[in-house]
């Protein structure tokens, strides 16, 4: 866990994933959804199909490449949503205290009592499968940690008198929050967001695997794995490659988060134990 190495390797992996996602149409070989050709069903990796083909004869490699778009989008958007909610609630709760703080803290405790995957599952159950419901489910269920951290940071700033000083200078609340508090808590929050993205991608994979997230024929890495499961004996490569894609992307995010933590959060306020 040398800070420098983590940063570069992680950053590299994440950059790779991003590039693959962005340039998917250019580097894919076939159309991921429509390129089905039953003549090519379940062929092992070869020159023509680098990662093999699935039961419908679609090229796995192209599907993984397009799948990067889905996984990264889900990861990014849901984490953004979580961070926004968490920071807003945590910041205001810590800043204003009182009844609002009690309310937010109660809500946070509630959220923390329900494992986030299960909560997301429940929401998916209500909303039905699909990208939008997935984004909602993942984006609304993992904000409690950033909320806690944001609130703790605000309270720590409060105890150090920064906020008091700004108030005496006549700054308005909103101004203080944006110019004084936010920059100070940005570091740890970026770390949480990076690590959280990895978690979101894993959660999307899990939900899609169960059939509650992105449904076939769309090539989310998780849904590819759910399709692959039944063919595990006849076509193991169907399971290996999507899983590896998930692994390396999340690994990249975790390494990046670790590396960022050494820079942005040296006092390890985000070390809830990692």
């Amino acid at each position: 866990m040398r800070g420098g190495l983590s940063l570069w390797v992680g950053g590299g992996l994440v950059a790779l994933a991003l590039l693959v996602a962005i340039f998917a149409p250019l580097i894919a070989l076939t159309d991921p959804v429509m390129g089905a050709n039953l003549m090519n069903a379940e062929m092992p990796p070869s020159l023509e199909f680098p990662f093999g083909t699935d039961a419908q004869g679609r090229d796995i490699y192209s599907r993984i490449v397009y799948g990067a778009r889905i996984s990264l989008t889900v990861g990014l958007v849901s984490q953004l949503c979580n961070s926004l909610i968490g920071v807003t609630l945590g910041l205001t709760a810590g800043y204003w205290g009182g009844l609002w703080d009690d309310l937010v803290s109660g809500l946070t405790n509630l959220m923390l009592a329900i494992p986030s995957l299960i909560f997301a599952l429940a929401i998916m159950a209500i909303l039905g499968p699909g990208l939008v419901s997935l984004l909602l489910a993942l984006g609304l269920t993992s904000w409690s940690y950033s909320c806690r951290i944001a609130r703790a940071q605000v309270l720590s700033l409060k105890s150090q008198g920064y906020i008091q000083a700004a108030r005496i200078l006549g700054y308005g609340d909103l101004r203080i929050m944006f110019t004084q508090v936010l920059p100070n808590i940005l570091g740890p929050l970026i770390v949480i967001a990076t690590l959280g993205m990895g978690g979101a991608i894993l959660a999307e994979a899990a939900l899609s695997f169960l059939g509650l997230g992105i449904r076939p024929p769309f090539p989310s890495w998780g849904s590819m794995l759910s399709e692959a499961r039944d063919q595990i004996t006849t076509a193991p490569w169907l399971s290996v490659f999507p899983g590896l894609a998930i692994f390396f992307t999340v690994l990249g995010l975790n390494l990046l988060g670790d590396g960022l933590r050494d820079i942005l959060d040296p006092q390890s306020t985000t070390r809830r134990g990692a």
Binding site: N109, P115, I118, A206, G243, L251, G273
Partner: protein
């Protein structure tokens, strides 16, 4: 001590009540859809009058507050409602699934603690060494794995290719069937515990009182035994408690993958079948379990750290 335990457990009730409320409200949107779903999949076409009667029977048309009050009252007496699908009491359905889930979760956690904590210790006591680097690279990889994918790979390797272990199911409930699911589930927490323990031990090793211990002329081994161990464990125990939460989330998927007859797989099936009472019952049980575990972890924390006792 017992009094404190009971008191702490009683503290769960308000949170639990709030969770019940949230889950119930969440699903109050759904009930009707069960019936319409039955109609929608074209397998059975139901006479609208029959649908209407079914709704009345299941009490789906009563006002929300009334339904909620009834639900809370029933839950308090242990009646979690009746499954839409099998018409059995939910409590019975969930009850049969409880033990397999507990076995799985505890086995996974036991594995995670047994390997993760010592690994973290060793890594911290030899920082920068080969052991340290390998353990930490392993740990961060373990964290990045999709647990069900790991399960799938393990299943392929050990069950299908090597044929050493059964590939799915509960079987006779013996160790052979438990191994693969527990491993798949336990690797994530194990990785996190290894990292947490390492960080905790390193932090303690740099503490002032460890310097005092060294100044007393103690061997490094004694320093670790007498002074480092307990102080590091305090930080690790908290993580273990938190990990149970994510473990249960992941357990849902692992159970489904391995066709493990636990509460998690029941939850997934019920969601697909729109069997709301069962879904609610499963979630309730899982949350309650998590809260109880957290309370126990809190108690363990108090037992280890005297500073908290005297507050």
């Amino acid at each position: 001590m017992l009094v404190v335990l009971v008191r702490r457990l009683a503290n769960i009730v308000p949170t639990l009540a709030a969770v019940i409320a949230v889950i119930f409200l969440l699903f109050s949107v759904l009930p009707g859809s069960f019936i319409s779903a039955m109609n929608e999949d074209g397998r059975t076409s139901i006479d609208p009058a029959v649908m209407e009667r079914m709704r009345k029977e299941m009490g789906l048309d009563d006002p929300l507050l009334e339904r909620f009050a009834k639900y809370v009252a029933h839950t308090a007496t242990g009646d979690l409602g009746t499954s839409f699908r099998t018409k059995e009491p939910v409590t019975k359905l969930v009850g049969t699934r409880l033990w397999p889930s507990l076995k799985l979760v505890f086995a996974a956690m036991a594995f995670a603690i047994a390997i993760g904590v010592p690994l973290g210790f060793i890594a911290a006591l030899r920082p920068g060494s080969v052991v340290d680097t390998i353990s930490m690279v392993g740990a961060i990889s373990g964290l990045s794995l999709s647990q069900f994918w790991l399960g799938l790979m393990l299943m392929y390797l050990f069950a299908l290719k090597l044929q050493w272990l059964p590939s799915f199911g509960y079987g006779d409930g013996g160790l052979r069937y438990l191994t693969l699911p527990a491993l798949a589930l336990g690797v994530g927490p194990m990785a996190l515990l290894a990292r947490t323990t390492r960080a905790a031990v390193l932090e303690v090793l740099n503490a002032d009182f460890v310097r005092t211990a060294r100044s007393k002329g103690m061997s490094e081994r004694r320093v670790v035994e007498w002074h480092v161990l307990r102080n590091a464990l305090v930080l690790v125990v908290t993580t273990i408690g938190l990990q149970f939460g994510s473990l249960m989330g992941a357990a849902v998927v692992v159970e489904k993958l391995f066709s493990w007859p636990g509460v998690g797989s029941l939850l997934v099936d019920s969601v697909f079948q729109r069997d709301i009472p069962t879904v609610q019952g499963c979630i309730l049980l899982i949350v309650m379990f998590f809260l109880v575990i957290n309370t126990l972890v809190d108690m363990a924390y108090v037992a280890i750290d005297p500073r908290i006792r005297y507050r």
